[in-house]
C-alpha cells in the first residue's frame, strides 16, 4: 500500500517535536476528520533555521509531515511557500489516491506556519495573499457509482 519511503518516514519521522518560542506555528486539520498537523518554525534572516512537527493522524499524515519538514529545512521563507503537496508526495515515491489529502494537509501546515510568522512579525511575503487554508477539507470521500 505505502512506498518504502512513506514507511521509513512513518516509522522514523524526522523533526518530531516542538520549538519553544517558535517564530511561526501552523496547525491544520481537525480531530473529527482524524488528522491534525502542527508545524513549528524557527526563522532567522528569512531562512528556516529549524522546523519541528507533531501530527495526529494516519501513517501517511505522519510521513508527509516528516517529509515536508525535511524539504523546507534551511530554505528561505519564499522557497518554503512554494512547497506543493505534489512535491511532498513525489518525494515519498507517491501516495495512494485516498491518501493524497495528507500531502495537501502538509503543504497547508507549512503555509499556515508562515502566515503566522508573517502576522507575528507584521511583514509582507510575496505570494502569501493567495494562500487559502481550507480546514473543512473534504478528504477521501468515495463516490458510490
Amino acid at each position: 500500500m505505502y512506498s518504502e519511503k512513506v514507511m521509513d518516514h512513518f516509522m522514523n519521522p524526522r523533526n518530531v517535536g516542538e520549538i519553544e518560542n517558535a517564530d511561526g506555528i501552523g496547525e491544520v486539520g481537525n480531530a473529527k476528520c482524524g488528522d491534525i498537523m502542527k508545524i513549528y518554525l524557527k526563522i532567522e534572516d528569512n531562512i528556516i533555521k529549524d522546523v519541528k512537527f507533531k501530527t495526529f493522524g494516519c501513517g501517511s499524515a505522519i510521513a508527509t509531515s516528516s517529509m515536508a519538514t525535511e524539504m523546507i529545512m534551511g530554505k528561505s521563507v519564499e522557497e518554503a511557500l512554494k512547497l506543493t503537496n505534489k512535491a511532498v508526495a513525489e518525494a515519498l515515491d507517491g501516495l495512494p489516491a485516498v491518501k493524497m489529502h495528507c500531502s495537501v494537509l502538509a503543504e497547508q501546515a507549512v503555509k499556515s506556519a508562515i502566515i503566522d510568522y508573517a502576522k507575528k512579525n507584521n511583514i509582507h511575503i510575496d505570494g502569501l495573499e493567495d494562500v487559502k487554508i481550507d480546514d473543512e477539507h473534504d478528504h477521501h470521500h468515495v463516490e458510490e457509482e
Binding site: 514507511m7 496547525e27 480531530a31 473529527k32 482524524g34 491534525i36 495526529f56 501513517g59 477521501h140
Partner: protein
C-alpha cells in the same frame, strides 16, 4: 520475545482449517459434477450437499430443510431483508433495525428507503451497544413488517437480547431477522429456542472458505428470492451450487459444533487476559462494548490522542494484525458508525483498535501484544499534538 506473526483479526476472516480444506479438495477435479445433473457425476455430489446442510443445521439446531446456501453473509443479509420487504410491501413498509448493524444490513435498509418506498427506524444502543427492548416495542407500528437486529456486533462484540426481541416480534406478528455472522460458532445458538425467523451466516468467520454462507429460513416464512433462476435450493436461490465451498462450510460447522465449549473457554480466557493487560499498561485507554454481553474473542479499545491507521501500521511492523474502526482505514470520512452510536466522540473513535482472537491464538500471542502495544501507543502519542496538550496539563482528557 522474538518477532512473531500474531493474527488477531479473526472477526474479519479466519484461515481455512486443514480438515476443512481436505474435505473440500475432492470436489474440484474428481467430484466436479453439477448437483442438478442426473448422471453419476451429478449424483456423486448431491449427497455431499445434503450432508453439509445437515451440519450447518445442527450447529444452530435448525432443520436441515431450513438451511439455504448463499455466497456469504452479505448476500444472506440482503436476501433476508429485501426478500421479506418486497414480499410484504402490501402489508406495510416499515422496517426496524439498529444503528450498529453491519453495512450489509444498514446499506440494504438505506437502499430500500431511498429507492423502494420503505421507512426504516434505526434503534439507538446504550453505551455498551445494547438496544432497549422498550424503544423497540415503541417503534413498532401497524406498518412494521420486519425487525432486523444483529446477534453480535462485529466491532465491539456486543450480544443482543435475541430471545426477548424474538418474543416481541412474535407477539406483534412481525418477522425477525438476525445477522448471526459474528455469533455463529462463537456462542451457543439454538434457533428453535430463540424462535428467530431468519438468520444470516457466513463460512469464512468459522474457519471455512470465503464466498459461502447460508440463510436460515424458518419453515413457513415467505420471502422473495434475491437471485432468481434455476431450481437450486428448492427454487429459492438460483445458481450452480458451489459444492467445494459448501462442503467446506459443512465441515467447518461440524468442527465448530464439536469444539464449541472448548473454543469459548479458551478465547474467553485469552480475551480477559488481553483486556486486563491493556487497560493496566496503557493510560487514557477505554474498552468499548460490554463486559457481560460480549463475544468470547472480541476486544476493542480506544487509545486517546492517536489515530487507528497509524496504530495498525505500527502493529503490522511487529507482525501483529488487528483492525480499526478509524475512517482512515476504510476510505470513508467518518469513523465507525458503531463507535459513534455508543456515544464516543469522533476524536476518540479515530483511535480505536479491535483485536479479535481465534483458535490459533496462544497465551504467548497475548504476551507479545502486551509487550509491543504499550510501546507503540506511547511512540504515537509522543508525535501527537493532542497528547502534548495533556502532558502539559492544558487539556482535561480531551
Amino acid at each position: 520475545m522474538e518477532k512473531r506473526n500474531v493474527y488477531m483479526d479473526y472477526a474479519a476472516t479466519t484461515p481455512v482449517k486443514r480438515e476443512v480444506l481436505e474435505a473440500m479438495l475432492p470436489y474440484y477435479s474428481d467430484l466436479f459434477g453439477n448437483a442438478s445433473s442426473i448422471h453419476k457425476f451429478g449424483r456423486d455430489v448431491k449427497g455431499a450437499l445434503d450432508r453439509a446442510r445437515d451440519e450447518v443445521a445442527k450447529l444452530i439446531n435448525a432443520d436441515s430443510s431450513e438451511i439455504y446456501f448463499t455466497a456469504g453473509g452479505s448476500e444472506s443479509d440482503n436476501w433476508a431483508i429485501k426478500g421479506v420487504a418486497f414480499a410484504n410491501k402490501d402489508k406495510g413498509n416499515h422496517i426496524i433495525t439498529t444503528k450498529i448493524e453491519h453495512h450489509a444490513v444498514l446499506h440494504t435498509c438505506e437502499y430500500l428507503e431511498k429507492y423502494h418506498g420503505f421507512e426504516v427506524t434505526y434503534l439507538n444502543v446504550d453505551k455498551e451497544g445494547r438496544i432497549s427492548l422498550e424503544e423497540l416495542e415503541n417503534s413498532i407500528t401497524d406498518k412494521t413488517i420486519l425487525i432486523s437486529i444483529m446477534f453480535a456486533n462485529n466491532e465491539i462484540g456486543t450480544i443482543q437480547p435475541i430471545k426477548e426481541i424474538a418474543e416481541i416480534a412474535k407477539k406483534k406478528g412481525i418477522l425477525f431477522h438476525t445477522d448471526g455472522v459474528q455469533a455463529l460458532g462463537n456462542i451457543h445458538i439454538d434457533v428453535k429456542d430463540l424462535d428467530v425467523d431468519l438468520m444470516a451466516m457466513s463460512s469464512h468467520k468459522i474457519y471455512g472458505p470465503k464466498g459461502v454462507g447460508a440463510l436460515y429460513i424458518k419453515k413457513g416464512v415467505k420471502l422473495h428470492p434475491l437471485i432468481h433462476g434455476g431450481a437450486q435450493e428448492k427454487r429459492r436461490r438460483a445458481g450452480t451450487e458451489n459444492i467445494a465451498g459448501i462442503v467446506g462450510f459443512g465441515k467447518a460447522a461440524e468442527l465448530a459444533r464439536v469444539n464449541l465449549d472448548e473454543h469459548i473457554d479458551k478465547l474467553t480466557k485469552l480475551r480477559d487476559k488481553l483486556i486486563k493487560g491493556v487497560l493496566e499498561k496503557i493510560p487514557y485507554t477505554r474498552l468499548n462494548g460490554s463486559l457481560e454481553y460480549r463475544l468470547p474473542g472480541n476486544t476493542n479499545f480506544c487509545f486517546e490522542f492517536i489515530e487507528g491507521e497509524s496504530l495498525l501500521l505500527s502493529l503490522d511492523m511487529v507482525g501483529i494484525a488487528g483492525s480499526s474502526g478509524s475512517a482512515c482505514t476504510s476510505g470513508s470520512l467518518d469513523p465507525s458508525h458503531v463507535l459513534m452510536a455508543i456515544g464516543l466522540t469522533h476524536e476518540i473513535a479515530h483511535g480505536s483498535l479491535r483485536l479479535s482472537l481465534g483458535d490459533m491464538n496462544t497465551e504467548d500471542d497475548v504476551d507479545y501484544v502486551l509487550e509491543h502495544l504499550p510501546k507503540i501507543v506511547e511512540r504515537l502519542r509522543s508525535i501527537s499534538p493532542l497528547y502534548e496538550k495533556v502532558t502539559k496539563g492544558g487539556n482535561d482528557n480531551v
